[in-house]
């Protein structure tokens, strides 16, 4: 059976190897304002330090959060959408069911958060929401797949 849009089987391992460090990196960026100095880029002439302009200056940005986000997205995609050793129509069915499940659950959780989380805390909700669909999908898919493979 032809299955489009899937990565080779080996990408799952690559995904996990990338996911762990990027998760640690991402959580550090999100919760502890961690930044790698070498990821700082500047463009244009930055106003001298201590002046009024320097407070609102956007001439320098640190790419730590961008790298962490992209790394998380890429590694989660690799884990979620790599082929099984034997791809067949039942696996495709489990994958589709799990995707359906994940989207529903994700929006249910998001709806609850929309109701109960307000102000700047909601920004964190949106950050977690960037990855939660894929995470829920991976969990549901792996659980069902492994349960059925034990049979």
């Amino acid at each position: 059976m032809k299955n489009r849009f899937l990565f080779p089987h080996s990408y799952r391992r690559i995904g996990w190897l990338l996911f762990v460090p990027f998760l640690v990196f991402g959580l550090a960026v999100l919760n502890h304002d961690f930044q790698f100095d070498f990821l700082e880029i500047s463009f244009g002439k930055s106003p001298s330090h201590g002046t009024f302009e320097s407070i609102f200056s956007v001439n320098t940005i640190n790419l730590s959060d961008e790298i962490a986000t992209l790394g998380m997205i890429l590694s989660l995609l690799f884990i979620a959408f790599s082929k099984e050793k034997i791809e067949d129509e039942r696996v495709a069915q489990i994958r589709l069911d799990s995707l359906h499940f994940a989207v529903y659950l994700n929006y249910a959780v998001l709806a609850i958060q929309v109701i109960f989380v307000h102000g700047t805390a909601f920004l964190d909700v949106m950050v977690y929401n960037m990855f939660s669909v894929l995470l829920l999908f991976i969990i549901r898919y792996r659980v069902v797949f492994n349960l059925e493979n034990k049979a």
Partner: protein, 66 residues
């Protein structure tokens, strides 16, 4: 949907793994079908029928409510 996969396999004296390999699916898929947990596509049903050399109706049968 009911099926007689297990019986057909016994007649042909083949294992789940044999059948799985012959039709290009995983052994778990054969197992799921035998437990009537998974209903195969038409293409797969036809492949199974060809493997056993029998018409599809002899292997798969609709149940009331299907």
């Amino acid at each position: 949907m009911k099926n007689t996969l297990k019986i057909q396999r016994a007649i042909k004296n083949s294992t789940q793994a044999d059948l799985a390999e012959a039709i290009g699916v995983s052994r778990q898929t054969i197992n799921s079908m035998e437990l009537a947990k998974y209903i195969p596509s038409t293409a797969l049903a036809l492949k199974i029928a060809r493997y056993f050399g029998k018409p599809v109706e002899e292997i798969f049968e609709l149940e009331p409510g299907d």
